[in-house]
């Protein structure tokens, strides 16, 4: 398997790897994938009072492309509102990283991780309000 420069860069120097403290305010988590499928992505977003994503962190069990896809989306979601973050498409991720066809599922998973994190944030917020 040969990887693009960008995939290798994210793999060697992952951006925003790690986790937020469990009880930090405004933190929501999206976990997608399954060990048996070969990838699990955990994307965490930290949302400010103004509804803008201030920070993001990820951890990924998966191939180089999966690590790169999740590393990339932590950079992309920062500074976006939740709705803007939901507009990120897997095709954009795949294009940016020059993923080969067999690795497109990694970008789909990264898109799913954003959706799951946003859904988790909205669920928590609605729960707190209700």
């Amino acid at each position: 398997m040969t990887y693009s420069e960008k995939v290798l860069d994210h793999y060697e120097n992952p951006r925003n790897a790690g986790s937020f403290g469990k009880d930090e305010e405004g933190v929501a988590t999206g976990m997608v994938g399954a060990p048996a499928c070969g990838d699990v992505m955990k994307l965490q977003i930290k949302v400010g009072k103004d509804g803008v994503i201030e920070d993001a962190k990820f951890k990924t069990y998966g191939c180089g492309s999966a690590i790169a896809s999740s590393s990339l989306v932590t950079e992309w979601v920062k500074g976006k509102t939740l709705d803007q973050a939901l507009e990120i498409r897997n095709t954009q991720i795949a294009e940016e990283l020059a993923l080969p066809p067999v690795k497109i599922h990694c970008s789909i998973l990264a898109e799913d991780a954003i959706k799951a994190a946003v859904a988790d944030y909205r669920k928590k917020r609605d729960g707190a309000e209700g």
């Binding site: 060990p35 048996a36 499928c37 599922h105 789909i108």
Partner: protein, 403 residues
């Protein structure tokens, strides 16, 4: 200075020993004759070299030189043995028995025979990778004509109970073929006591050249097979085609060196293998695949839990190793050998096969140990699964959002 990547893939192939190279070179130049030429000294000289090599090969196994037929390598030998025996004895029966962890050269040959109307039983192994003799006995039928079991497994290095299987086959009049590719020079193989009828061997796993191998065909009691390659009637009609003198000379010299040096070499390699195992044992959740005692000294196959196979291979590019994962496509294809041991897919996927050899040094092993500690640690820091395990979560109880 270490040469990178460090070569720890001696079961894939070995470099040709410089002493072997030296012996081969004249047969590419001035001693170029065709060993089948009967009418002049060029031919006689080549024939003498071929027969001397045959003697060296036979000597490693305590066998008669007349019992070895040159081939292009173990894949051809497997094909010749299994198809040749199945076809020759098709009148007696059309059932074969083999094992699920065999090399593809055996498994795919058996599949081809199935297409031709033969029946094949593929036996399971235990979780240590070894064939259980009761399972084996129960699989034999009155119409079983051929059994094929490898001496040493290429992925996990376990040594099958060949002596016992041979006794059972001989008693029942079944031909016993053994793929000894990975056993040559690693395990003492005495064909005067082992009841093996057909045995495949190759040169390039034993510091000889690629493209040359042989099939042992027992003379007493005589193992009968049908030729698969027809032509000039070389090799007593069992394998036609002009002999590759230089390759054969190389194989002979490689096998001579193996006979003389395997005792000390295996002890040295075992020490290095154990050093490697000791070195990585302090990494948590490392699992050895395959029985550790019934195993050749140069093989170590381990799985690193909670890291994914492909990213692990990316992390260890300074090591030339093999992986249990064939992840060149989107679909997960963990090694069929590790799956046959009952390893779950994740562990099968994150396995590495280290195979050491004649030129492996202590410095190389220490480099590998240090690198593995760093890289596995880094990938686990990045792994949500590792984080959950650290927090005491049982991953089997998690509802995964499978995709």
């Amino acid at each position: 200075m270490l040469k990178l990547p460090v070569y720890l893939d001696y079961s894939a192939t070995t470099p040709v020993d410089p002493r072997v190279v030296e012996k081969m070179i004249p047969y590419l130049g001035e001693k170029f004759g065709n060993p089948a030429s009967r009418s002049h000294s060029y031919g006689w000289q080549a024939e003498a070299a071929v027969e001397e090599a045959r003697e060296e090969v036979a000597r490693l196994f305590n066998a008669d030189p007349k019992e070895f037929v040159w081939t292009s390598g173990a894949t051809e030998s497997d094909n010749l043995a299994i198809k040749g025996a199945a076809h020759f004895h098709a009148g007696r029966g059309r059932h074969l028995v083999t094992v699920k962890t065999e090399h593809k050269a055996v498994l795919d040959t058996c599949r081809e025979l199935e297409r031709q109307g033969f029946e094949v039983s593929y036996l399971d192994v235990g979780e240590n990778g070894l064939l259980d003799l009761d399972v084996f006995r129960a699989a034999l039928r009155p119409d079983t004509t051929v059994v094929s079991v490898m001496f040493v497994n290429n992925e996990i290095g376990v040594i099958q109970p060949i002596a016992e299987i041979g006794e059972i086959c001989r008693e029942k009049g079944i031909l016993f073929h053994v793929d000894a590719t990975q056993a040559t020079g690693k395990v003492l193989i005495d064909l005067s006591t082992l009841k093996i009828d057909l045995m495949s061997i190759t040169a390039h796993k034993v510091y000889g050249p690629k493209g040359i191998g042989a099939l042992y065909v027992r003379r007493r009691p005589r193992a009968r097979i049908e030729a698969q390659m027809h032509g000039g009637g070389h090799e007593r009609g069992l394998r036609s085609g002009t002999l590759a003198t230089h390759q054969i000379v190389g194989m002979g010299e490689a096998f001579r060196l193996a006979r003389l040096e395997m005792g000390t070499e295996n002890e040295r390699v075992r020490m290095l293998r154990d050093r490697l195992l000791d070195g990585i044992s302090s990494i948590e959740h490392v699992y050895v695949n395959g029985d550790i005692t019934h195993r050749v000294p140069h093989n170590l196959n381990v799985s690193f839990a909670y890291v994914e196979g492909e990213s692990m291979l990316m992390a260890v590019t300074d090591l030339a190793v093999s992986s249990g994962s064939a992840c060149t496509s989107a679909s997960l294809e963990p090694s069929y050998v590790l799956r046959a041991l009952g390893r779950d897919d994740e562990l099968a996927h994150s396995s590495i096969r280290f195979t050491l050899g004649r030129f492996t040094t202590e410095e190389e092993i220490d480099f590998a140990v240090k690198l593995l500690h760093e890289k596995i640690g880094r990938l686990r820091e990045l792994s949500p699964l590792w984080e959950m395990v650290r927090e005491g979560v049982d991953l089997n109880t998690v509802q995964w959002a499978a995709h």
